[in-house]
Amino acid sequence: MVDKQIDPSKLLRCPVCEAVNIDREGDVYCHRCQSRIFRNPKLGTSRAWAFLLTALILYIPANLYPILVSERFMAREGNTIIGGIILLWEEGSYPIAMIILVASVLVPILKFIVLLYLLISAHFKKHRYTQVDQHKLHYMTEVIGPWSMVDVFVVAILTGLVHLGSIRVIAGPGATAFVLMVLFTMFAALSIDTRLFKERGSHGRG
């Protein structure tokens, strides 16, 4: 039960120290850690849009350019993300192909869709899902987001490990684009202001 003096719909969670704060118009400073919790929520939204669009643009070179270049006896061969997955699948490494498919292809795409959905539905103030579901979706993107780094780490390890005589594996230009894409989607998820889901007011499904 919440105190009568406090309006539950005006309560906010400080993203830094998790303290409960009362939402007032304009800037809110957390009463516990004094961090500025929310500036104008619109600012957070436009920042999230900027990060998300940058990430979407970077996703194109990340998939078109090779993420891994292997050199065998003077022959260079580049592998894109999708190419690498197909190669692994053909070689019969199904579990690894699945891990890379989920981490490098499905997770980023899912994250794009969820973030786009959250931002667009906030813009039109329409909601097919309840606030709780929106919060859960947002939480999920923050949890699964970092897992798209798997492929980059794999490339980094192979670059460090495989230079044996005439055989060498190095990162490709796609890796740089992919890293930046992951960073920008993480920035986008972190800059989404959870007050956006609150502004709709109603608690019901509608």
Partner: protein
């Protein structure tokens, strides 16, 4: 009536501190007392809201120092060694970063270095210093800065993802070369287990409350 008056006289922040918002679904709960060693769960999404651990600072300090030792071992020795046609090559976390630099992949190198080396190290040092200071009941302002820093660092720690990546990379190499796990690999496995446990254990809200109790009531 009496109860309502006493509630009104309290400062607003104290009233707010009796509430907690679920990190996952943002449902508002009033905190309740729970028995030792138990956790309070959100009734909407079953996410853990807080634990009752009397000796959270002792545990934190012990785990933090163990983590730091494992972290050093993980970085001092080779993670993996590969052999092929008489050639031998091993990799450590830092040599991996340097070979990315050598090949001109500065963005990838810097990002990887931060996520698997600098941030995890900062989190451990931050956590150890924090537990230490709070046990000594010193450094009120510093603990605040450390707590704020800690909450900003936590989402960027990716050691557990790195461990999975090592395994994925090795599976790609099976069949081409012989693979030997180094001492650091096993140390990294232990480190990841400990780190995962620690980050499940660190509830920022609890640490803030503890800090409030320590520096207000002594």
């Amino acid at each position: 009536m009496i109860l309502e008056n006493s509630v009104k006289e309290r400062p607003e922040s104290e009233m707010l501190d009796r509430l907690i918002i679920c990190p996952k679904c943002h449902t508002i709960h009033e905190k309740v007392a729970i028995p030792k060693g138990k956790s309070a769960l959100c009734d909407t999404c079953k996410k853990v809201l807080y634990h009752y651990d009397e000796r959270v600072l002792d545990h934190g300090l012990a785990l933090g120092i163990t983590g730091l030792l494992l972290f050093f071992v993980s970085n001092l020795f080779p993670l993996v060694k590969v052999e092929m046609l008489g050639h031998e090559q091993h990799v450590t976390i830092l040599s991996m970063v340097f070979s990315l630099f050598e090949n001109g992949f500065y963005v990838v190198g810097v990002t990887v270095a931060f996520m698997v080396f600098i941030f995890p190290l900062m989190i451990l040092v931050d956590y150890i210093t924090l537990s230490w200071l709070m046990r000594l009941k010193k450094g009120k302002q510093l603990t605040k800065e450390l707590l704020i820093l800690l909450s900003k660092l936590l989402p960027w720690n990716m050691v557990e993802i790195y461990l999975v990546s090592i395994l994925v990379a090795l599976v790609k190499l099976i069949g081409f070369m012989q693979i030997h796990f180094g001492l650091s690999f096993w140390s990294l496995v232990l480190f990841v287990i400990l780190d995962t446990y620690l980050s499940k254990r660190i509830h920022m809200g609890e640490l803030w409350e503890l800090r409030h109790r320590i520096y207000t009531y002594g």
